[in-house]
Each structure stands twice: as C-alpha cells, then as structure tokens.
Amino acid sequence: MLERYDGAMRREIRLWIVATSAIGLATLCVVSWLSYRSTRELIDANQRLAQVHKLIEDLTTLHVVLDDAESSCRGYALSGKTEYLQPYDAALTQLDVRVQVLRHDLVPDVNRTRQFQELEQLIQARLQVMRELVEARQTGGFDAAVRVVQSDRGKKLTDEIRQRISAMQTEERNDLLDRERDSRQQARTTTVAVGLTSVFGIALLVTAALVIYRVARESERAHIALHNAERIQRTILNSANYGMISTDTKGAILTVNAAAEKWLQYPSTDLVGSNVSKLHDEDELRARADQLTRAMGMPVPGDFRALVTKAKYGVADEIDCTYVRKDGTRFPVSLSVTALRSEAEDLSGYLMITTDLSERRAIEKMKDEFVSVVSHELRTPLTSIKGALGLLSGGVTGQLPAAAEKMLRLALNNTDRLTRLVNDILDFERLESGQIAMETQESDTAQLMRESAESVQVIAQGEGVSIVLGPVALPVKVDPSRIVQALVNLLGNAIKFSPPGGRVEFGAERNSSSVVFRIKDQGRGIPKDKLETIFERFQQVDASDSREKGGTGLGLAICRSIVQQHGGRVWAESELGRGSTFYVQLPLAEPAPQVTT
C-alpha cells in the first residue's frame, strides 16, 4: 500500500517537473527570441543611423567640392591665370569620387534613386556650364566668359543643387527621426513582452515549487500516516488470537504473526523461507491431496499444494487440520486459505489464517461427556422409577385401591414427562451442536405424511380429535426419521391444542422447487407477537402449557432445528380463537409432477 502511494506521489511530482520544464523552456525561447529581435533591430537602427549620417556628410562634402570647383572656375574666368584651374581640376576629380561614394551609400529605394539621378544630372549640367565658362575664357577672353556668367545658368543650377542637397538631407534626417521613434516603440514593446514573459516564467516556477513542496509534504504526511497504520495493523495482527502465515506461490513462508509463532513454538526467523508444509502432518497432507485429486479430477501433490489448490482456483477453502510444533507435538487448527493477488490479478502468494481448536475440542469433549453423564445418570433412576410404577400400575404386584391407582397414574405420567424432557434436551443439544448427522435419502413426502399421521393416531383418538390426511407425493432428499419426528411434533401440538371433537388437517402442496406441509388445527390460536418466539427454547404461548399439556417447551425448537438442517424453514400463521396453521417447507429433490393420492 505504501509503495502504491509513493508511486502516485512520484508520478505527480514528475508530472509537475516535466510540465514546468516544458513551459519554462518555451518561456525562455520566447524571451530569447524577443531579445534577439530587439538587439537585431537595435543593430539595424545603429547601422541605419551611421548610414544616414554618412549620407548627410557625403551630400555636404559634395556641396563643398562643387563650391570649390565653382570658386576655382570663377577665379580663372576673372583672372585668366591658369594656376586657378588646378583646384578646379582637383575638385572635378574629387567630385566624381564623391558622386560615386554617394551612390554607394545611398539606400537603394526608388525615391532616393530618382532624387540621386536628378541631382547627378544637375551636377553634370553645372559641370558643363563650368566647362563652357573655362572654354569661353580660354577662347573668347574675359568678355566671352562674362557672357557665359551673365547667362545665369550656372547660378540657377547651383541654387537648384543646393536646394536638392538640402531637401535630401532633410528627408534623411526625418527618416532617421521616424526610424528612431519606431525603434524606441519597438524597444518598449520588447521590454514589456520580455518583462511579462519573465514574470510568467517566474510565477510558473514559483507555482511549481509550491506544488512540489505541497506534494512532498503530503507525501511525507501520508508516509507517516501509512507507517502508523502499518504499525497498528501489525499490532492488531500480532495481538490477534489467529495464526497468520503468508507464503509465496511455492509455499515458502514470508511472514508469521505472533500467535502462530507462539503456537508453533518456532521463532519467525526459523520459519521465514522454509516451506509451510513442514508445519503440517504429512499423512494428513497426503490424504487431503488424494481427496482433492478425486474431487477436482486433477492430480494434486501431497505437499503444500494440498492446502492451497482450492484457493488458487478461487474456491473458498476452510479445513480442520493438524499443526506440528517444533518439538513434534500436534494440535488441531481450523485453517482458512486465501490466494493473494496483485492489482493485475496475478497470483502472488497465499495467506493462511488459523484458529487453534484445542480449547474448542476440549470443550466439545467435556460437553459430550456431560451429555453422556446426564443421559446415563438421569435415565438410570428414571428407568427404575418408571419400571416400578409401571409394574404397580399394571397390577403385576396385585390390585391397588382406586385412590392409589390414581396417584400412581399421576406419578407415571410425570415420569413420562420427565423422560420426554430429558430426551428433548439431549436431542436439541445434539441437533444444535451438529452431533446428529442427517442421514438423507430419497424419500416420498406422501409416505412421510402417512408415517407421521400413524404415529399420532392413537393420541388423536385418545383426545377425540380426527386427523384429515391429504398426502401429496413429491420427491425429497431428507433424513426420513427426523422429518417424521418434526411432523409428529407439529401434529402432536395440533392435537393437544384442539378441542375434543376437533379436526386437524394435514396436507401439503408444491411451491416452485419446494414442498410445503400444512398442519391446521381448530385450537385457541396464537397471538401474533408469539408466532416467532414459540420456536425458541422453552417459549410457550402460555406458561401453564407445559403443565397442562405435558409439553417440554423444546418440541418446536427441535422441529425448527431439524427443518433448518434440511435447508428448509418452519413458520406459523394463526387467528386467535380460530386455530393455527403450521407450515414446513423443504426443498424438492428434483422437479416432479404433483400427484394427489
């Protein structure tokens, strides 16, 4: 039992650990993913920030280089000195590099690409104007250069380039601000999600810890309770006045309680592990094995299997047998064997519970002796008294005066009554103690009824009562002499309580698988509250009945005992002042058609 409880506890703890681990792992995955995503976005945002800064710087640098080229070009146009063209050439070279850098750093989306292309076109157009100015100064002199300048194309292109660069820088800055705002929002969301997930994970861990703690505490309490229960159980087993021995399926002893140890005079250490058959009388085991072999139609060896075979096949088994003590002395026991099975109904061993019958046997012997003594010692003087009175009353010793004869008759009647009482007491005692075995045989109910009626015919005539017999022939398996004894008893009562000239009806009928005898009188009847108690010992309807009617107060008790030992029952129905009907129900031997003779 303890192991089963432990198993349940362990399963519960295991379940919690698995569930907590799974959910914790899932939580960790979510947190990790959120953290990764957040970090990734942060890195992306930083890269983008650097990119935007670089782009803004590229645009600024481009503007500066363009301004340098313009200044150099303008200086050459005004002075005509070729040294002014050196910065111009350098700026043109650098301008080309800056355009390439800008193209590289530019985020490749449609709008920016378009803006860049337009800016590049403007720059190319501006460079063309600068080249025209230089060519005009070289070929046409100062005036030609002034004409180119006065055309205002260069100024317009420069203004437009400045505006474009400024617009692109503004757009990049705005885009950067948007991205920063989105990143912050994303970071806040991630922080909340990670926070919530972490809180959930922590709560789960705390709950799991609490549950495991609770389960462990319950397990500990249950352990203590079970250990206590086990200790109490062991104490009960050891203080019980029953011998209890458990064995495995091979008959090897596993446990022995204190009573068995004491009775058998073996310490349990000597018994545990040895075969239970060593506690039994060998001849008895062999005899039982033979008996089982015949009864079960299968070979049963004369060892411990003679004790457990019936229990093994699920048949309740209780036998009287002999135990052998360590010193070889023997004592009678009543042995009950139960098969022990696992939850899966597999045979795991046997439990043998024994009762020491020594005392009971001694009491039975004393009782037998007492009954024998009572039987002899009471009947012996009764024999002399009854014999002597009978001889006097029979006139063997000569004629007596009428008054003396009357007294003799009185004495003789009471001697008979005392004889009946002694007989009934002994009879009842033997019936109740099972000392009288019912010698059952196939019998015919009609025959039993006739025999019973004939037995009381003389008494009935003496009382002026007629018996109306309606015999019914049905087969019963009974001890005929005992059933006749019971029926005679009931008929005798019916006659005794019938008024002179009265009638006793004695019939029977089949009732399903039983026969019911019916004895109906026209007597004074029995009160309802006495209908049950009259079948008890010395329980008569009226205390004076035993004196007036000569009953012993045991007739109905004997009658009931006989009928019950045949698996039947007896009962009475009555109406005060109108008579009583006694019923005796007995099981039929086999179904048979009802025939009235």
Partner: protein
C-alpha cells in the same frame, strides 16, 4: 420350560425391576449379574437363552462384555440385547456389526419389556405365550 434370561446391569434397582417384569409379565427365569465380569461367569455357567446387557457400566463396560461373550465359544451363540441410556451413540454400530440382537432404550416400559424382548429375539407368540402362560399358572 421357560426361557432363561440373564440381566447384567450395575444398577441394583434396574436389575430388580427387570427381574420382576421379566418373571411376572414375561414368565422367564431371570438371572442377574451386577458387573460385566460377573455376567461372563454366570453366562458361562448357566448358558441362558438370552442376555440383556447394560452398555454403560464401570470397569468392564457393555461393549467389552459383549465382545468377550462373542469370543467365548460357549457363550458366542447366546443372543444379547443391549440396554442403553444413550439414544444414538453406538446403536447403529452395534446392530450393523451383528453383535447385538437389539437395543432397548432406558427408561423402558416395564409392562412392555417382555414383549419387546420376544420380538427382538424372534421368540414369537409361542415363546411368549409359553412364558406368560407359566407365569399366569403360578
């Protein structure tokens, strides 16, 4: 000549009652013995026609006495009726073994004892009539 019946019983009163009724009602010649051992001697000497033997006696009980009677060729053929207060015990056993000719239960009806003995021994009406007739004649 009337039949001789030996009554063996340790109770003097029962011996007396049995003797009176068997003699006066049955017309038998009655011998008595107060113990099993004494009964064996009387039986060997007198060779009675029947023995009424109490089952429960001190020292040598009825069963042992019966066994010795049956072992002795001189008394083995004498029919023995057991007299017992034990209604059920041994009854069937004794009759089944054929050792006893019948069982008489205590207390017996003194006026019917002779008739019961005749019926058990199959002496029939002639024996009884003879006995009763003798008794009546005396």
């Amino acid at each position: 000549m009337s039949k001789t019946v030996l009554v063996i019983d340790d109770d003097r009163d029962i011996r007396e009652v049995a003797k009176v009724t068997l003699e006066l009602v049955g017309g038998f010649t009655v011998l008595t013995a107060e113990s099993g051992s004494r009964g064996l001697l009387v039986a060997q000497e007198a060779k009675p026609d029947a023995i009424i033997l109490d089952l429960m006696m001190p020292e040598m009980d009825g069963q042992e006495t019966l066994a010795q009677l049956k072992r002795d060729p001189g008394t083995a053929c004498i029919p023995v009726i057991m007299l017992t207060a034990k209604v059920h015990a041994q009854k069937h056993d004794l009759i089944a073994r054929g050792s006893a000719a019948g069982i008489l239960l205590k207390p017996f009806d003194a006026m019917l004892l002779s008739k019961q003995v005749c019926e058990m021994l199959g002496w029939g009406l002639s024996a009884k009539d003879e006995g009763v007739g003798d008794s009546a004649a005396r």
